[in-house]
């Protein structure tokens, strides 16, 4: 503490005090920047856990004919619990296997439709077409339709889809 009869304060003391003040201020600043930075950029928690959702029963399906189903998929968006509606096609092989395709065209994300007469999926946006196994027949799509895991379960032969 400067004495009342402060002669010009000694420069060494002044320097030490200035150093301490500067370091402390820098330290506090760094600590808070770090904490607030982490808080601001932390990855959105609560990423959707995988769920198996019931999409119908084998009784609803006809062998080798894609049947559209709209699923209501729970999505965790931070604190917000939303439900996304997602269209899938169920293709039953007539036995115990069901293949499930996403209805989203791999080109630009439009929803494809099943043409029962031509036996192919048509994308209404840019004319992409896929066969009943989801493979590209024509047009701009770069990949086959996305396959979604599915299984048949229970006495009522429920089709469960992983979303």
């Amino acid at each position: 503490m400067p004495t009342p009869a402060a002669a010009p304060p000694e420069p060494g003391r002044r320097k030490t005090l200035a150093l301490i003040v500067n370091m402390a201020v820098a330290g506090i600043g760094a600590a808070f920047s770090g904490l607030l930075g982490v808080f601001a950029v932390r990855p959105a928690r609560g990423a959707a856990t995988e769920r198996w959702i019931r999409a119908g029963t084998l009784g609803d399906l006809t062998p080798n004919v894609p049947v559209p189903r709209v699923l209501s998929v729970p999505r965790a968006d931070g604190w917000y619990r939303a439900r996304a509606r997602e269209t899938v096609f169920l293709v039953w092989d007539g036995a115990k296997q069901v293949k499930v395709f996403s209805a989203t065209c791999t080109h630009l994300g439009c929803q494809v439709l099943w043409d029962g007469e031509a036996k192919k999926f048509n994308c209404p946006c840019h004319g992409g077409t896929y066969d009943a196994s989801g493979n590209v027949l024509d047009g701009p799509p770069p990949r086959p339709l996305t396959t979604i895991d599915a299984r048949v379960e229970g006495t009522d032969e429920a089709v469960l889809v992983r979303v």
């Binding site: 304060p9 200035a18 604190w79």
Partner: protein, 525 residues
């Protein structure tokens, strides 16, 4: 490097700014007592910073406010930022009072610093307004009910009371419009005022210079680094203390706001406990004295202090009258706060689960909730769910599955209103505290209680009022009641008392349910 700095200085004048900011002359002998203003500045900066970052995640709507605060608290960094904001507010109030006392004791409000003093008082009022508006934002039970009280108190103000309350409330009830209003005040209007007033307060302080010790001896010294060093030391200690509290303690977050919950007893944050206690001494029509008149007189006294305590004398030993009044005020505030703190309602149940909550778990168990609410199901398990919905939504959800996911769920069995209320109570409780586990017979008894008895009877303050209170059903007129008698009462009341109002439950309850509820009631001595 030095040429670059010179170039910059010529264009920005930063060296002059630094000189103006840091080389202020401080009266000799100015000591640690004069660091409190800097502590406040640091604490307010922390509030502004953490508050600004909290808005990254907070959503000011009744449907989402609670969820978003829960979400913030779910990570370490969020818990810390929210903790700093919450506990920082308490520190801010404490240091405001200390700073005020320092100014009063050393007579720093005396000419020419009257306006500095008034701007400081206005800042204090602003900080309390921040505390009040911020309290509502988590939209939990205490937030909601404290706000109900605040708005009702403001109605007591003469002339403009009703109008003020209407402005604060926004809509016809405390709800969405209140929340957005208080949010805007808390994050836009009040901060703008606060920053403006702080600048004014600091400019005035610099203009008049620091009042310094009573009798400065020797030559003044430069703020930086000498007084800055003291400021830094105290500020660092205080910030570490806030951080320690944020690290160790989770800021409180009770169940989501429930306007229908008549049993909730609201209590304010500790710095309003004095006012809260004061109100208790002025019941009925005298309430306005405790709520408005006394706080108003205190505020007016403080505002007029420079004109009440005239004369240049700053030494507290020669300002007996003012010192006595201030000391009396401090004793009153501390005393009232302590009394308010101790005068807590004894919660009968404490941490134990209420019978309704336990029953809700049993009812949820036999209602098929777990068909969807499982780890791999459509929805989160009930035990790990953050329920922020109200009773209406839940009853709709339980009774009408189509409402949530068309075609994807099998309807559960129809549930009565009371069963829904019990499920709701259970889910709310379990989202705050894991199920502690109770004997199987108690679980069965609790479900019977929550479905049937609760309509007319009460236990531990929960239930209807048409029938006798059953908290001590195991004793009647000083004599223990045995299980068999209670069982007969429930099975067929008229067998014991032909005039009994109670319906018979013999054909509605299974034998094991009758056994469980009778044994449970008999055990309540």
């Amino acid at each position: 490097m030095s040429r670059l700095l010179q170039w910059l200085d010529a264009r920005t004048g930063f060296r002059t700014a630094r000189h103006v900011l840091l080389d202020e002359e401080i009266p000799a002998g100015t000591g640690w007592a004069f660091t409190l203003g800097s502590v406040l500045l640091a604490l307010i900066s922390i509030q502004l910073l953490t508050g600004a970052f909290l808005t990254l995640y907070y959503a000011p709507t009744p449907d989402h406010a609670y969820d978003s605060v829960r979400f913030i608290s779910s990570t370490t960094s969020g818990r810390l930022v929210r903790g700093l904001h919450h506990f920082g507010a308490s520190f801010l109030v404490v240091f405001l009072v200390l700073h005020l006392l320092r100014v009063v004791i050393l007579g720093s409000y005396k000419p020419p610093r009257e306006i500095t003093w008034l701007s400081g008082l206005a800042l204090m009022g602003l900080v309390l307004a921040f505390a009040l508006t911020g309290y509502l934002l988590p939209w939990d039970q205490r937030a909601y009910w404290a706000t109900v009280v605040t708005i009702n108190i403001s109605k007591l103000a003469p002339v403009a009371g009703e109008a003020m309350a209407a402005v604060m409330q926004g809509g016809s009830t405390i709800g969405a419009l209140t929340l957005t209003r208080w949010y805007s005040a808390h994050v836009i209007f009040l901060p703008a005022l606060l920053v403006g007033l702080i600048v004014a307060h600091l400019v005035l302080m610099r203009l008049q210079g620091s009042s310094g010790p009573l009798r400065p001896k020797g030559k003044p010294f430069a703020f930086y680094p000498y007084q800055a060093f003291r400021d830094t030391v105290v500020v660092s200690i205080v910030l570490l203390a806030v951080l320690a509290m944020a690290w160790n303690g989770m800021p409180p977050l009770e169940g989501p706001a429930d306007p229908t919950d008549a049993n909730y007893i609201p209590r304010p944050e500790w710095y309003f406990l004095g006012l809260f206690q004061l109100l208790k001494y002025f019941p009925g029509k005298w309430e306005v004295i405790g709520a408005i008149v006394i706080p108003g007189v205190v505020a007016a006294f403080l505002a007029l202090l420079p004109w009440i305590d005239r004369g240049p004398e700053r030494d507290p030993r020669r300002r007996r009258l003012v010192m006595t009044l201030v000391a009396a005020g401090v004793v009153a505030v501390v005393g009232l706060t302590t009394l308010g703190w101790r005068d807590r309602p004894i919660s009968a149940a404490g941490d134990a689960w209420s019978l309704r909550e336990i029953g809700g778990r049993t009812i949820a168990g036999y209602s098929g909730c777990a068909k969807c609410h499982t780890d791999t199901g459509l929805a989160d398990p009930l035990e790990s769910m953050a329920l922020s919905r109200g009773a209406e939504w839940v009853s709709g959800h339980v009774s009408d599955p189509e409402m949530i996911a068309p075609g994807l769920r099998e309807p559960p069995a129809q549930r009565s209103e009371r069963e829904v209320a019990a499920i709701l109570a259970y889910v709310r409780r379990v989202s705050r505290q894991p199920y502690p586990g109770y004997p199987a017979q108690t679980e069965v008894a609790a479900a019977v209680w929550a479905r049937y008895c609760v309509g007319c009877h009460r236990i531990d303050g929960d239930g209807g009022k048409d029938g006798p209170e059953l908290s001590h059903a195991g004793v009647k007129e000083g004599k223990p009641q045995d299980v068999a008698t209670i069982r007969t009462w429930i099975e067929d009341p008229e067998a014991i008392d032909p005039l009994a109002d109670m319906p018979s439950f013999g054909n509605r309850l299974k034998p094991e349910q009758l056994d469980a509820i009778s044994a449970y009631l008999a055990a309540r001595k």
